[in-house]
Symmetry: C2
Subunit: 256 residues, 2 copies
DNA sequence: TACCGCTTGTGAACGCATGCACAAAGTCGG
DNA sequence: CCGACTTTGTGCATGCGTTCACAAGCGGTA
């Protein structure tokens, strides 16, 4: 791989060419897990833990130990064989790879039920994602401070986003308005969008969209309920079930 | 397993043997997309569209047409070659596979900022996921109706969940309380959990957990911002980007 | 210093998902 | 009834991600 080049093996803190190479090669799925590891590690650091093994960390993060090590290997070799990883070191390297060494200003569009919750949420600023702009169309909301920030009119989105250097836009409007809001955000130069509206957004290639779709999540859960019910029905109907993975039978049956 | 009480309940799902076989084999990723197709199709049906081709539907759902056809093939062959799919037919079959022919009662735990938004949200009941129970520890909230449903005390969770046949539990408490709440839900027989708290939940094998982690979503977006910034820096520094085909063409330096 | 036990990092195999390409199967016009 | 055209359903190749298994490397110990 990239490390087989055997070229330079330096260790600088900021952006190193070798890391650029690596960052491009990190699988999307691994990036999501790195964020989880980071949170677990931060929690450990807060509790005074200074070192951790891949086994411990993987347990805490709910993943396979081998997968964790492979994920970490994507960002470099920062462990010590026979010992484990230094928590602080790992935290700083994951933060660097995830681009968390700088703040990312967030704008929330649509200050209704969900928008209010997001604007009031304290978890974002603490993690380097300060909410710096709020937008809505409702005249009654304009100027009203929510979570300490006054709501701006959606028509001012371009000016405000540029002025406050918004890098992430969060869409919490009703579905019909989502695409239009998205287009405006893109026009304002926002290249990252987090969408809560149950709508498939169309965006140019240079814009990254992630969606949080609660209805879909619910339906996936529903699917599993149904599948389970069917399996149970199959068993009771005498149909031989094939792929049942072995698991400890812990009597969970509760009879009221 | 959990809801064996009602014999007839609502419309009992007609379980066809062939579908059982199929449902077990549907890839997880395809299930998530089926939910999206369903929403798009429902929207089309509302607008009076009766037939649709895989090309049209895939465009609207933002996926590859071949992938869409493969996804649909997991649930059976309900299209007409040379014509396309009947919207109504497709809707009903996807609903059946996803287990949406019956209602899934939802309980929300933690009626703070987010819990209020969820309880007030009209999108769930309309899609077969009625919110029937709310829980909190805050004495000031107990008995207060939110979105039409009075908040119950968390200590009554087992009794209330059984009584209202809750099949999906939503956790919207602060992180430290999440695991404890989760355990209580599991004890109450809830086998599907949607978790908003930034915590890795430990559950028995027979419980399905899905998490919605906004911090992780933000950090994934942040990663892409950083990657992009690095790429731009690389280009301006004269480093050749090997982005598109994975072929590093050396010697070609583009200088503005 | 030499050895021992422990944990990392990774090559390699495997399995799942994606996308292509095309035969099969239908419609429609004549 | 036929032949041209359209679109589905799917076998297959490809690529990505996960898991296994183990050599390499490090700290501790005698
Ligand atoms: N509330 C939830 O728990 C929840 C859950 C899942 C999904 N969602 C989705 O999130 C979105 C918001 O939900 P909500 O419950 O907060 O809705 P809401 O109706 O309470 O709030 C929507 C807000 O968007 C504003 N708005 C409408 N058009 C706008 C536009 N063009 N530009 C800017 N602002 C505009 C409205 O004035 C309103 O304040 C919806 O798409 C909903 O489907 C919400
Ligand atoms: N608000 C957001 O936009 C947002 C965004 C992302 C993640 N989250 C996460 O969602 C969760 C809830 O966020 P929030 O902003 O609504 O918090 P909040 O503090 O406003 O509400 C939490 C509620 O949970 C209740 N609670 C505490 N312990 C409980 C227990 N043991 N049993 C039952 N109820 C209990 C509290 O009384 C309170 O009403 C948090 O974990 C947060 O990290 C929230």
């Amino acid at each position: 791989m990239a490390s087989q080049r055997g070229e330079g093996e330096t260790t600088a803190t900021p952006l190193e060419p070798a890391d650029r190479e690596r960052a491009r090669a990190i699988p999307e799925a691994a990036v999501a897990r790195l964020a989880v590891y980071l949170r677990v590690l931060s929690g450990m650091a807060d509790q005074g833990v200074t070192a951790v093994s891949s086994e411990e960390l993987s347990q805490a993060a709910g993943v396979n130990a081998a997968k964790l090590r492979k994920d970490l290997s994507y960002i470099g070799s920062y462990g010590t064989r026979g010992v484990g990883y230094d928590v602080e070191v790992l935290v700083s390297h994951i933060e660097r790879i995830l681009g968390l060494t700088r703040n990312h200003s967030v704008a929330v569009v649509g200050i209704g039920n969900l928008g209010h919750a997001l604007a009031n949420y304290g978890g974002f600023p603490g993690r380097g994602f300060p909410v710096t702009a709020l937008f809505d169309v409702d005249a009654d909301l304009i100027g009203v401070p929510v979570g300490g920030i006054p709501v701006s009119h959606i028509d001012d989105i371009t000016a405000v986003c540029l002025e406050r250097e918004v890098s992430i836009g969060v869409i919490a409007t009703p579905p019909p308005a989502a695409q239009s809001v998205c287009d405006r955000l893109v026009s304002a130069g926002v290249q990252c969008i987090l969408n809560f509206a149950p709508v498939v957004l169309q965006v140019p290639d240079n814009v990254e969209v992630r969606k949080v779709d609660l209805a879909v999540e619910m339906q996936i859960l529903s699917f599993h309920v149904a599948r389970r019910a069917d399996e149970a029905a199959s068993v009771s109907a005498g149909i031989v079930s094939a792929g049942n993975n072995g698991l400890g039978v812990d009597g969970m049956v509760i009879r009221p």
